[in-house]
Symmetry: C2
Subunit: 200 residues, 2 copies
DNA sequence: GACCGATTTAATCAATTGATTAAATTCTCC
DNA sequence: GGAGAATTTAATCAATTGATTAAATCGGTC
């Protein structure tokens, strides 16, 4: 019991610190302090900073994508599905606006982090969706479009603003709360934007 | 003469190293080595790592945005303008695919880096474009849409894939060359996607 | 209560790194 | 060609940091 608690405690602290500071700027001492334990404890439970980070990165990546690829696999009308994906994605992003930049930052520095499970699931949900797009094109429900690009477009429109949030906040001189408000309003706009573009 | 050359030489080396490794992972010794000078030289010319980085970040940011905001200010039909922005942006991105992730990475860690000039110019070009969108809506040339969101959408669709490039390459098992090829094809798709969505 | 393994602590190591310094070398101007 | 400033070099400092170690403490079992 106790071990699990301490271990989990350290993982949660590590998530917080790694997200806030990034891999290089986070120190084992930071994490230990955040978890209220001696810094040797962190090594005792996780051997090395790398191993701990691997666990954290994996967990965050999974959390960030699992919701969406569930929806992509659901049996829904294509327009409904797009609306649901967009709504879901942006809602989660508003609650965790730091995740996209964190994932990008670390993924670029060490692409080997992607070896793990959830990237396979992304591909899976992408494949399912692309089939549905092909079908909708064949049915004459949507115009001719490259399915992969449509999949990409959906994610682009949802996630990108969170990648450049500091820039947006600086240019528009808005607070974090106002930014979230903007994103909230943007939700239906984005879904409309996509559907307007592909419907016949 | 000579000083300018050495100084510029170091700046170029610093760009390369900072982009490749990020601020924390790049060392003054790395930069010195890349520039073929003694590491004290880097301090001699730029006082501190921070100052040098500020110069580099500013220069890269300016380079990354100046092309686009020029186009936004040109006197072009709105559809033409969108096509030109998209083409231009993606073309530059293919030549410098590391820039978006670099800028995001550093901007999130130190938003104070944005105090500089070019963020004002982004705002300026955004304002110009939004006026044009309002006019096009009034003319009945495009449907009703939030102008700021349209501006955001254009950048999202162009830039986002480069933010998640490692993930895309891993999921699709494609090389860098193949990725670039995809982006090249994507160019007209993106412009079409946007125009289809807003035209009446 | 004594034993034994798991957990926790404090102290310390070795390596890295931004920065400084003082001496050496080069350049410039007279 | 020589004085003085600018540039370059090698050596070194002080601080940080991931990791290790040995000792201390805790927890359960007999």
């Amino acid at each position: 019991m106790k071990e699990t608690t301490t271990e989990q405690h350290i993982i949660e602290a590590a998530k917080k610190v790694f997200i806030a500071k990034g891999y290089e700027n986070a120190t084992m001492r930071d994490i230990a302090k955040e978890a209220n334990v001696n810094s040797a404890m962190v090594h005792y439970y996780f051997r090395s900073k790398d191993k701990l980070f691997g666990i954290v990165f994996d967990s965050i990546g999974k959390f960030f994508y699992e919701n969406v690829y569930q929806i992509y696999k659901e049996d829904l009308d294509i327009f409904e599905k797009i609306r649901k994906v967009v709504y879901n994605r942006i809602t989660i992003l508003i609650q965790h606006p730091e995740l996209p930049s964190f994932l990008v930052r670390e993924m670029f520095k060490r692409p080997e982090l992607l070896e793990h499970n959830y990237s396979r699931q992304i591909k899976e949900s992408c494949d399912v969706f692309m089939l549905q797009v092909e079908a909708a094109m064949a049915n004459g429900r949507i115009r001719k479009i490259n399915p992969m690009n449509l999949f990409l477009n959906i994610d682009s429109l949802c996630v990108f603003p969170f990648h450049i949030r500091p820039l947006m906040q600086h240019c528009s001189e808005i607070s974090e709360a106002e930014f979230n408000e903007l994103m909230n309003e943007r939700c239906t706009d984005v879904a409309d934007f996509i559907i307007q573009s592909i419907k016949l």
